[in-house]
Each structure stands twice: as C-alpha cells, then as structure tokens.
Symmetry: C2
Subunit: 245 residues, 2 copies
DNA sequence: TTTTGTGGTTGACGTGGATCAACTTAGCAT
DNA sequence: ATGCTAAGTTGATCCACGTCAACCACAAAA
C-alpha cells in the first residue's frame, strides 16, 4: 500500500470527447459538438476484475456499459444447468442492451480479463437522446447492429459445420482486433476452448481438434490462446465452400 | 375487374388508437394520450401477397413495419446459396429493425400468407419518439426484446437436441397464438417443414420425424400443418431434461 | 525445486441427425 | 374425376461430432 493519495474515479474527468475509442463506441458518427454533450452522460467508470460479473441475469436494469478496457463474455444458463455463451465483447462495444425490454438483465456479463467500463445510466441516455439527434441515431444503430450480429450467429449455428464455425470466429476476431489497431494476423484469445465451444455450439474437444487441423493445414499457428493467422484467404474459402474434405 | 371505386389506402383512416392490436404492438404500455399522437406515425398500409417480399437484403432502409394481418418469415442467405430462417413474425410484431444499423436491410422478409403491414417511416419515428417519451421507451423495448429473442434462438441452436428444439418451437408458437386470442392447443402453422428446419438448424426430414415421434408419444396430434397440443407439460419436460431416450 | 490445478490435446468409440431415396398426401388446374 | 406439383412421411445408411478417457503444458503455490 502506497501512502500517496489515490486517483479516485470521481477525481478523473470522464469524457467521451477525450477518449480514443470514439470511432468504435457510441459516439461514432456524431459531430464534435454533439460528442461534447455526451460528457454528462457517462457518470462513472467501473473496474471489473477477471471472472467477476458486471451484471447477472435477473439484476434490475439501470445502465448500459461501454467497454473501455478489457473484454467480456455474455451468457445465459438454462434451468438444467447448460450454459450458452451469447457473445464476446471488446473495447468500444456496448453491453447490457438486453435489459431494456423487461427492465431486468436476461444474461450474465463476465469479465474475461481485468476490465473497465463506462457506466451509462439508461434514464440519462433516454433523456439526452431526445435532444441530441446524433445520439438517438447512434444508439438505435448500436441496437440494430446487435440484432444483425445475432442473426449472423444464428446462421453460423444453424447452417455451418464445426470447422466453418471456427474459421468464421477467427476471422471475426481478427477483424475486430484490426479495427482496434492491433495485428490482424496475430492475437491473444481471452476465452477458453470451452467458452469458444459454447459460443459456437460445439464441445471443447471439437474446438481443439479444429484448431489442430487448421494448424496441420497451414492455415494458422496455435499455441494455447495465442493465434497467428497464416492463410486468411484459406479460412475464408472454408466458410464459402460448404465442406471439402 | 369491378367498376366500383376501389377503397384506396389513402382513403382509409389508419389509426393505432382504433387498432385491436395495441396491446401487442408498438403502442403497448403507452398512455391513451400518447397513442393518439401515434396516428400521424403510420403513414399507410401495405398489402403483401403470400410468398412476396416485404423487403430484401440490400434494399435501402426507410421504414419499419408493424404486422396487421398475416405472418412473415425473415431469412438471410449465404454466398454459397444456403438459407437460414432467422425468425417468424406474427401480427403486432415489428419487422425491419435490422435495417437501421447500415441503412440497408440485411435480411429478406417474405409473407407466409396474404398479409398487411403498417408502414412506419423511420425518420418520422425518430422525430416523434423525441417528443413522445412513451414511444421512445416502447421502441427501445421492442428492439431489446428482439435481442433477447435472438439470444433464445442462439441457446436453442447451440445447446439443444432436435426434439428439444421442436418442442421449444411449438410451445413458443402456442404461447404467441394465445397472446393473440387464439387457442393455445390447436393452431395452423403457416410455414413448411423446410422453413421450420431452417429456423431450428435441422433438415426437414428431422423435423418431420420429430413431429411423428411426438405424435406416437401422445404429446401432440399432427396433420400436415395443423397442430394440436395434447400434453404441453410433456413438451416442457422435454426441454428441461436434456434427453431421456 | 516439486506440487497442484486448470486448461488444452489427442485417441477410441458411439450416436444423433444428415443424406439418399422411395412413397404418400394434399391442393389445384384442367 | 384426372393429372400435376409441392409438401410431407418414412426407411436405410453414413458420418460429423459428442462422449469418455488418458495424457500433456503451463502457471501459481508450497
């Protein structure tokens, strides 16, 4: 423990206009003018340690969250104990939208690593988006994007085979890392094989085998959670051509 | 062709306040006062014949639609021709939300029977929901509900076996028919086995066999598209207990 | 250093659902 | 009625993925 005065959350000026995630996050597409007005929207930041919940299914819904650092998974669990991961979220992405409909969260959000989120009180968001047109539009787009993303996952789960699913997953991760200024070809997965499997509707063994197979075929190099994509065109081809043994 | 003056869409007073679907549709939860103000929102109605498209993937996004009569399916098709049904929509449900994110529709909406929709121009919706608070909230809830529904489908596709999926599907249909004042136990499906299969991530043969099996077990009575649910508790049990052969 | 635990890999085997194919039924036009 | 077509059923076979089980790798604790 140091004896210096800690930097408190309250002491920090939290401002979207200062944040380097603007072009990924809620303010994307808004004018500078409009973004300045957002600064009253983000009340506080909240730190979540690895494996801790940001919220749980059943929690009353009060806010949505913009991820500032780190990453999360969301999952729902069925009565019988089966768990299904419904998504992985990275910096700049908005999490918690599921809670609006019933005013209770319908899934769990768990940090995959030590993370920090901006807390956006829903009541304030409603209020402000009545006045700031750009905010209204962007918020609607964020929700709509989530719907489109979910349809993509449904397609994946409903009509792709194991290796296609994993290839799609890897390309998606790569693309999202790129958007964040990281390498498209080399990255570190924050989730376990089991979590990937749950997301893709597969067992961890199947995920592991598919990774190994991709490696044998020279498409990627895997070492535990570290992935290097060698032949992204090859991965893309896998998705388009339904299975060529 | 009759020689009488046709009843034009323009001639009909289109009003949410008059509509018997209020408690299922966008106005749900809004005050009478607020609902009256919606009447300017619904510009026109549009009739769609069975098998015709309400919109197609790629169409510019201009409006969302509230289903007045009939029903629809939405689907996306992959490059290689595979098709995935992402949802079935009934009266009172809102369709077209996927278009907001990119200002282009990302899926196709096809009428399963002769149907009619209320056209809600998105620009007007934005405008009005800035002034009518209840509308803003309801619209957000509709979008959020769609996200939660999609998570449900992901769970179904990711972690349920064929018979569980079909049982869940039947119970969901039953529940939605009930909400519309129809029998919970007896209804007519508007979609083919292939469409059900596509939605559930199964082949039509598997759907057909599962129907037959449910019938043998005395859970339902099937005759083509006509379904009678005999033992809905039995169906529920099927979902909760992961497979007991 | 050894120990312990969690996550990952790999192999052998079984099975649920896909595939292929034949047949039936219902609806519709003639 | 009769023929035609799209939708549905059912059977036989196959295979992708799940299951079960052994083993390995790495990280944190002792």
């Amino acid at each position: 423990m140091k004896a210096t005065v800690p930097i408190t959350v309250a002491g920090l000026k939290v401002a979207c206009s200062q944040c380097n995630l603007v072009e990924l996050c809620l303010p994307f597409g808004m004018s500078e003018n409009e973004i300045d007005r957002l600064d009253e929207l983000v009340g506080a930041r909240r730190k979540i340690k690895r494996q801790q919940h940001l919220y749980r299914a059943g929690d009353p819904f009060e806010a949505i969250y913009a991820i500032r650092t780190g990453s999360f998974k969301t999952d729902v669990l069925l009565e019988d104990g089966r768990e299904q991961v419904t998504g992985f979220q990275m910096t700049g992405e908005i999490i918690g939208l599921d809670g609006i409909s019933t005013e209770q969260h319908s899934c769990n959000a768990v940090a995959l690593e030590d993370s920090e989120v901006c807390v956006i009180a829903y009541s304030k968001l409603e209020e402000l988006s009545r006045v700031v047109e750009g905010l209204q539009l962007q918020f609607h787009k964020v929700m709509s994007r989530e719907i489109v993303r979910d349809h993509g996952v449904m397609t994946l789960l409903g009509s792709m085979r194991a290796e296609e699913r994993l290839a799609a997953f890897l390309l998606n991760m790569s693309q999202r890392f790129t958007a964040r200024g990281f390498s498209a070809a080399e990255f570190h997965l924050r989730m376990t094989r089991e979590e990937i499997g749950s997301y893709l509707g597969l067992k961890l063994e199947t995920v592991s085998r598919a990774f190994s197979r991709f490696q044998e075929e020279g498409l990627i190099a895997v070492q535990q959670k570290h992935i290097r994509i060698i032949d992204s065109a090859g991965l893309k081809k896998l998705i388009q051509h339904p299975h060529r043994s």
